[in-house]
């Protein structure tokens, strides 16, 4: 019995080794095939979309994209630059969209006077969009497109 288990273990370890090896060759990383002791030519840095025009959300719960540059915007213990325009008190003057009410809730659903600490770091969810083509083909289909295709008699 013991030898059988031992044999199976060795076989499975060997097999997983082969599997990892073959997967590793398929995965395309930022460094791609660059050797460890070599420096890869860096990818081009694209311009950030700065149109100030709101983008359509790709799915209902997508955190809205930031349609402007955020270079050197400080979000730290001292200050939150985003809130200088997007906070409830500032939106009248700035005409920027106010952060949603969910951002004032703690995890138990209690409303706080200030933005919740768990929502403080805006760019954890909200990102800018670069003016570039997708790196890989995207086959994602929006829920509404899917529903429309099903109900559409053609």
């Amino acid at each position: 019995m013991k030898t059988i288990i031992k044999g199976l273990l060795i076989a499975s370890i060997a097999f997983s080794g082969i599997a990892i090896h073959s997967v590793a060759q398929e995965i395309s990383t930022l460094r791609n095939e660059t050797k460890l002791d070599e420096q890869k030519t860096p990818n081009k840095i694209y311009q950030v979309n700065n149109s100030d025009i709101k983008q359509k959300r790709n799915y209902p719960m997508q955190p809205p994209l930031i349609p402007h540059t955020i270079r050197n915007y400080e979000v730290n213990l001292n200050t939150n630059k985003c809130m200088a325009c997007h906070s409830r008190q500032r939106t009248e003057e700035s005409q920027a969209p106010m952060v949603s009410v969910t951002h004032f809730m703690d995890r138990d659903g209690n409303f706080l006077a200030e933005i919740s600490p768990r929502r403080y770091f805006c760019s954890q969810c909200h990102v800018t969009q670069q003016d570039t083509k997708p790196l890989v083909e995207n086959t994602f289909i929006d829920m509404h497109t899917l529903m429309k295709a099903k109900t559409d008699p053609k």
Partner: protein, 160 residues
């Protein structure tokens, strides 16, 4: 008088400013990451461009004020990062007040309102510059705080 002016000009260079480690390892390090240090066109601002008035009389007045900084240097008021951070709000407020009082003169030495092309600005920038800035209701520093250095605790600061 000539020698006086020469030494004055010598003290008006970035090399002179950052010969003190208080300046070199705090504000200068922070400046390096900002658009006033590196940008697409390669034009950059040095310390005195923003912090010393260009007009001779105003410059002398500012230099006399700055003699207090010699005192601070001798007694090590901000000779560690911790001490500097503790004083940051006071120091920043001095600069904000100064720029507010002179209608952001040092900004305007390079950024001339009369030659701003709103069509080349982002919609948001053009909107604000053509209204609040044009009417004189706001001055550069009212909105553009912390553009060249990190910000202090902004609690209670107007517009934040």
């Amino acid at each position: 008088m000539g020698a006086f002016n020469t030494s004055l000009e010598l003290s008006n260079t970035e090399e002179f400013c950052i010969s003190c480690h208080e300046m070199e390892s705090n504000v200068y390090e922070e400046l390096k990451t900002t658009i006033h240090f590196t940008n697409r066109s390669g034009v950059r601002a040095t310390c005195p461009d923003c912090h010393v008035p260009h007009k001779w009389t105003n410059k002398i007045a500012r230099k006399m004020q700055a003699s207090k900084e010699v005192w601070g240097k001798i007694f090590g008021t901000i000779n560690t990062r911790e001490k500097f951070l503790a004083h940051r709000k006071t120091l920043a407020e001095h600069e904000w007040d100064r720029l507010k009082a002179n209608d952001s003169l040092e900004c305007r030495n390079c950024h001339n309102f009369d030659y701003m092309d709103f069509t080349a600005q982002s919609t948001r920038a053009a909107q604000q510059h053509s209204t609040s800035l044009a009417s004189g209701e706001k001055t550069c520093i009212d909105c553009h705080k912390g553009i060249a250095h990190q910000l202090p605790d902004m609690k209670g600061v107007e517009g934040w």
